[in-house]
């Protein structure tokens, strides 16, 4: 049935696209606060996922009745501490350096975090279960309940971030820090705390993304390589200044990948999809939902 094949590819694309979106939201959050593109977001997510996996295995072996929930909570706690330490040790001391310098620091973090993960957890690839296991069949179509969970999670995180930035005092503090941290500080905004909290949140989001991504890639030191790259593309396509943008961008990439792969060519899939995305960016250089920076005269 042709429509079933079409829908199957769309559903598959939505699930994968949601993973890109989840991975992108943490990058966008840090960018919005500090203008820094955190290239190490993927590797930090990978490290957190290894911790999550370890908790999952140990709690299952210890006979804990809900090992996945234990792993999920453990991931959130660990990533909060991890994000705090990264910000405190590597990011804050470079707060006066140039934007480029800060980004180089995040590039250095890629190597550090990846090397540490290999040394601590080893280099084997491990299976991680889905949040909701099993699948449902509709005729020839397969729908995984896990997909809906991932999509829902991406939308909830997006809405929470959107609400927080737009309608809370903390959001005002974030926007003030993002606009001019020195003036914000003079106005009484605790800019250091804002930045630290942002890194903590972004790292926690990375851990959640990693946990959702792991069933699709396995847990290993290279698990985020492709996803992280595509999450960046999703963020650029959707607009780096928007929280809705990366979600739409991620979904577009996921769905287009599958449709081009099925209906046109798997050989030319990457070329066609990313060629198309470049054309979009020519007409919308700040992304589909990105704000065009306005300069006061």
């Amino acid at each position: 049935m042709h429509w079933q094949i079409f829908l199957q590819n769309v559903f598959g694309g939505i699930e994968t696209g949601s993973l890109y979106a989840l991975a992108a939201l943490g990058v966008v959050l840090i960018y919005r606060v500090s203008d820094v593109t955190n290239f190490a977001q993927g590797e930090m997510a990978m490290f957190s996922t290894f911790v999550t996996y370890t908790i999952w295995v140990y709690s299952a072996n210890a006979g804990f009745p809900y090992p996945y929930i234990a792993a999920f909570i453990g991931a959130l706690i660990f990533s909060a501490i991890f994000g705090f330490l990264i910000e405190r040790i590597f990011i804050r001391p470079t707060s006066d350096s140039s934007l480029l310098g800060k980004m180089i620091v995040t590039l250095g973090l890629i190597l550090m975090v990846n090397g540490s993960a290999g040394a601590i957890f080893g280099t084997d690839s491990h299976y991680m279960q889905r949040a909701i296991t099993g699948h449902i069949r509709f005729g020839n179509m397969i729908i995984r309940p896990h997909s809906f969970f991932v999509i829902g999670l991406a939308i909830v995180i997006m809405l929470v971030l959107f609400y927080m930035i737009k309608f809370t005092m903390f959001g005002v503090a974030i926007r003030a820090t993002a606009q001019n941290d020195k003036v914000a500080k003079l106005m009484g905004v605790p800019t250091k705390k804002v930045t630290a909290f942002t890194w903590i949140m972004a790292t926690m989001m990375g851990a959640i993304a990693g946990l959702m991504i792991a069933p699709a890639t396995n847990v290993y030191t290279g698990m985020m390589a492709d996803i992280h790259l595509k999450s960046f593309i999703a963020a650029v396509l959707g607009g780096f200044t928007s929280f809705v943008g990366p979600v739409i961008g991620g979904l577009m990439i996921g769905i287009l990948d599958n449709l081009v792969g099925y209906y046109i060519s798997t050989n030319w899939q990457t070329v066609i999809v990313y060629g198309f995305l470049i054309i979009i960016l020519i007409f919308k250089p700040y992304g589909l939902f990105g704000e065009i920076p306005k300069k006061k005269v």
């Binding site: 094949i5 199957q8 694309g13 290999g118 690839s125 397969i142 699709a216 396995n218 290993y220």
Partner: protein
């Protein structure tokens, strides 16, 4: 007189400059007690899971040989350099090993990109390079000082085609391959194999489907396969993608035999699938090519050696590959006649027929560098919840 003297002087100078080079080139890395060899391969970063067990296997073999008195009255000393799977680093390290460390041979260089990037250097120097952790087909054509052992992927593809039509009796084959050098060599071999068997019509071009090496969503490729309604699927993809393909086969209800490359012929590959959770049915359709003739007896020396030198390490296919690299180099030394020189070593390797190791047979002839050509098919079996490969067919050549 002065003219004659100056001519003699020039000749003497040329000889003085060239002779040490010639002497060094033919016996470097060898002294009365030691034969020093070099190897370059990844042992850190994302691909370290290959290199770490691989070099443990190789070192375990050399340590065993040394403990037993060495070979040709000398101990073997291995100098290893980590290239982090970076071809530029691989080339630099190979150059360093040949010209600074002055090793006698390069043994078991690991990783196709690095091997290819340093091939010209090795070729120009004339140093013997024995065993490559790579199935790249170019290795068969690089020259007389290259001794590839692992089957190349084109040849493996040909043999897969033969097994598909003769053993599995497939008439409508689908191929899912990863879109890089490995997969492209594989599909080329499958096409060539079917052509030589005069069975090209068993492979419809619409059933030849590629995927990206890092792909995580196999919805589209699996849909395309199902539309073809094949009676067999050849999966020419390395472990990361292949494990996801087996899971996708389970999800989408693909219920035909799958045959994958020898690169996945290891229990650690099955562990990454976690068959009982993700592919309880599809896993029983999975078959794998294999070139190592492994049974309890042939594995015993490796297991004993690893227990002694690396008691905390797991033995997997990469460990075995490293061990075979060591076996091949030493077999060549034992086949050498006369002084330990590059020329004599290459001559010895050219008459080698080594059947006492983990591979069914390793042999070379002048101008023939095909590597191992005997391969067998294994299938996945389950026993008490454990999954492993069990040999299904005899070893066969194309």
């Amino acid at each position: 007189m002065l003219k004659k003297l100056s001519k003699v002087g020039v000749m003497a100078l040329v000889a003085a400059l060239l002779l040490p080079g010639l002497v060094m080139a033919s016996s470097q890395g060898v002294d009365d007690n030691t034969i020093t060899i070099g190897s370059v391969g990844v042992t850190s970063g994302p691909a370290a899971f290959i290199g770490q067990p691989y070099y443990e296997g190789m070192r375990a073999y050399f340590q065993t040989v040394n403990d037993e008195g060495g070979v040709l009255g000398r101990e073997i000393e291995l100098i290893h350099r980590d290239d982090e799977f970076d071809p530029a680093q691989a080339r630099d390290h190979v150059e360093e090993l040949i010209y600074d460390e002055e090793v006698f041979a390069i043994v078991g260089q690991l990783g196709t990109p690095g091997v290819i990037s340093s091939a010209q250097l090795v070729s120009d120097s004339g140093i013997p390079s024995v065993y490559f952790g790579s199935g790249a087909t170019e290795l068969t054509e690089l020259g007389e000082n290259f001794f590839p052992v692992q089957p190349n992927y084109v040849y493996e593809g040909k043999l897969m085609a033969k097994y598909a039509v003769e053993h599995f009796e497939a008439e409508n084959i689908a191929v899912l391959y990863q879109n890089d050098d490995v997969g492209r060599d594989g599909i080329q071999g499958i096409r060539e194999g079917l052509a030589e068997l005069d069975m090209e019509d068993h492979l419809n071009e619409d059933a030849v489907i590629s995927h990206n090496p890092n792909q995580s969503d196999f919805t589209a490729p699996m849909q395309r396969i199902l539309v073809q309604d094949p009676d067999m699927v050849i999966v020419f993809s390395l472990s990361q993608a292949a494990s996801l393909i087996v899971r996708a086969a389970e999800d989408f209800g693909l219920e035909v035999p799958m045959l994958t490359t020898y690169s996945n012929a290891d229990a650690s590959f099955l562990a990454t699938i976690e068959p009982s959770e993700t592919a309880p049915n599809a896993i029983h359709n999975l078959h794998v090519m294999g070139w190592l003739d492994v049974d309890d007896e042939s594995l015993a020396p490796l297991i004993t050696s690893m227990e002694e030198y690396y008691p905390d390490s797991t033995i997997n296919a990469y460990t075995m590959a490293g061990w075979v690299a060591g076996e091949t180099f030493v077999a060549g030394l034992r086949n050498l006649e006369g002084d330990i020189t590059w020329e004599n070593y290459i001559a010895g390797m050219n008459t080698l027929e080594f059947t006492d190791g983990l591979a069914a047979e390793i042999s070379f002839e002048p101008g023939v560098r095909q590597g191992v050509t005997f391969m067998a098919v294994s299938k996945v079996v389950e026993e008490d919840g454990e999954y492993f490969f069990e040999q299904l067919t005899d070893f066969m050549e194309f």
